[in-house]
Amino acid sequence: MGMNFKNVLALLLILAIIAASAIIGIYGLEIGNVKINPIRESMRLGLDLKGGVFVVLEAETNATGDDLDKIMNQTKEVIERRVNIMGLTEPNIVREGEKRIRVELPGAQNASDAIEAIGKTAQLQFIKPNGEVVITGSQVKNAEVVFEKDRGNIPSVALELNSEGAKAFQEATRELAAATNINDKIIAIVLDNDVISAPAVQNEIPNGKALITGNFTLEEASELAALIRGGALPVNLVEVQTSAIGPTLGIDSLNKSIDAGTIGIILVFLFMLVYYKLPGLIADIALVLYTSIVLWTMVALKATLTLPGIAGLILSIGMAVDANVIIFERIKEELKNGKTLRASVNAGFSRALTTIIDSNITTVIAALVLFQFGSGPIKGFAVTLMIGIFASMFTAVVVTKILLKLFISFDVFRNTKLYGA
């Protein structure tokens, strides 16, 4: 009797944990300072669900090797700067292959404007206090970080102008250096209508070499140099692939997928219950835990849920059931062979284990390849699939076993008819 009481307690505890993980997942939790958002709000959504733009741009250039790398890095810097101005939460800009750059802008409201902003030629300008443009980005030959020895090796940005720029710069600096009011000495360095530096001119600069000094950190100076260098887009970019999803469509996709997923899961629950009876019920409980584990793991890993990812998740629920189906079929067989319930359950689990491991590892191989070779949403699918496989091994093997053994310890549940025998 004492033993039984302990088992009742253990069973209730496990059920409570599983129920809590699901309920918090759906509704969130708020106790005092502790606040857990529902999964729907904390999950990072891919741009196919959130709406947004991704565009792959290809540089029109014949350069190769280091030259190409330099061009691509400059291009990437220009794009990064422009994207940062848009103020989106998780933009992602990566070089893809040799000449391509992939720009992902989740949540971008107007796709067309965003693509235009990325692709337009940047305007770098040096402007006098009276608004007159002295030189533009096309006249800057190079910009790099230098260290001023006489000022304790503080990093600054050195500019090198072409001859045309040098001449214009010399005239402007002569004029500004002669000014008496400090405000009249300032030359503004403007990139895309954004003032990135406003140094005061001290002397006439004749040789096309200028120094932008300030209290820069090395990082700031490098960034500034990169921005000036990259001010003029070094190369023309062509769209090779675009996907722009409006926010309405994204939300619609998400809602419909959640509905479809819910109905699919309920159908699986019913099937398991009707076909496998008590073990089916236990598999259903394990399935609730499985779904929470996968979703919470994705939230914790900050993995992105994409539309194919939802398909992967729903598919993996079908597959998670598989491990249980293998075990329960095995238990049925053992019961038919005349073993006792307890022995059948033990044999069922231990014999099914190698099958489950072997069959799941082959699926992991497929998921790894997908992750390595897929792009964007497909990668998301592979991640979901992998998390799903590992979670299902845990819930289907470990959790179901504990639950089933607890149930068996109660006399009421010892009728083998409940196990489909």
Partner: protein, 294 residues
């Protein structure tokens, strides 16, 4: 159950299906989506149902040879598909034409996709490469855990599944796109899973059924695992079919090949993989016999 004895029937069915599919594909061509051919897709919410001709009146102004499809729950959206590779500016011009005519706002531009001409061949090359790598990895693992012959039989079943799915696409002229590639890879992972369960049982039964023939062992193993094979495929299909019925267009494109592939995968793990293994084992045994006689 006598599965192995009827090997010729199963192989014949599959080969017929694949050959018909490939012939149709060869003569009628596959219905390749814009991600393989290059092109542009735009989805616009009009707010009412307009006829295809009405939409074409607008697109033809841009010298577009476009397909118009209705979308959305109440057919209030249209999808314009063309093999022309339109850039951002051109797409905006087309949308603006619709915007003006139907009094739309920028939000009604639901979706746009564009693929340059070179992308398609890259997608297919990468897909093929990933299927080969995945198959090689599985072959290695199965050879290590079971034996090489199981590995080869499993991989043949996989190739069978991929070819049958492609055949279905050719016969029914379903548009092929990059979702298909991901779906096929998933099918590859899923179908081998199914096959392994049967092989695992064969491996186990070999120990208990010492004197039985390979055919008997395979039949027995298939029978023992049959309800599992059916139930697993059934639960997976339940979820995926629901997704297909209720999902949006892009998720349907993903669900459809999964449905075809999971059904085919269940078939091949029972009717293709094990019979191949039996035939190979018997061939090997007989060859050994003749050798000792001579």
């Amino acid at each position: 159950m006598k599965i192995v004895e009827k090997s010729k029937l199963w192989f014949g069915l599959s080969i017929a299906m694949i050959v018909i599919g490939l012939l149709v594909g060869l003569f009628r061509g596959f219905n390749l989506g814009i991600d393989f051919t290059g092109g542009t897709m735009m989805q616009i919410h009009i707010g009412k149902t307009i006829s295809v001709d009405e939409a074409k009146d607008i697109t033809s102004k841009f010298a577009l040879d476009a397909d118009i499809i209705h979308a959305g729950d109440e057919k209030q959206e249209i999808i314009i598909k063309t093999k022309k590779d339109l850039n951002n500016e051109q797409r905006q011009e087309i949308f603006d034409a619709f915007k003006e005519k139907y009094n739309l706002t920028d939000k009604d531009f639901r979706q746009a996709e564009q693929f340059g001409p070179a992308i398609g061949s890259e997608i297919s090359r990468r897909a093929l490469l990933s299927i080969i790598i995945a198959a090689a990895g599985m072959l290695l693992y199965i050879s290590y855990r079971f034996e090489f012959k199981f590995g080869v039989a499993g991989i043949i079943a996989l190739i069978h599944d991929v070819l049958v799915v492609i055949a279905i696409y050719a016969i029914f002229q379903i548009p092929m796109n990059s979702s298909l590639v991901a779906a096929i890879l998933t099918v590859v992972g899923y179908s081998i899973n199914d096959t392994i369960v049967v092989f695992d049982r064969i491996r186990e039964n070999i120990k208990f059924m010492g004197k039985a023939s390979y055919g008997e062992i395979a039949n027995q193993s298939i029978t023992q695992t049959l309800s599992r094979s059916i139930n697993t495929s059934l639960t997976t299909l339940l979820t995926i079919v629901t997704l297909y019925i209720l999902g949006v267009e892009s998720i349907q494109q993903f669900a459809l090949p999964l449905i075809a592939g999971i059904a085919t995968g269940a078939y091949s793990s029972i009717f293709i993989a094990s019979p191949i293994w039996v035939i190979w084992k018997n061939w090997e045994k007989n060859r050994g016999k003749y050798r000792t006689i001579s």
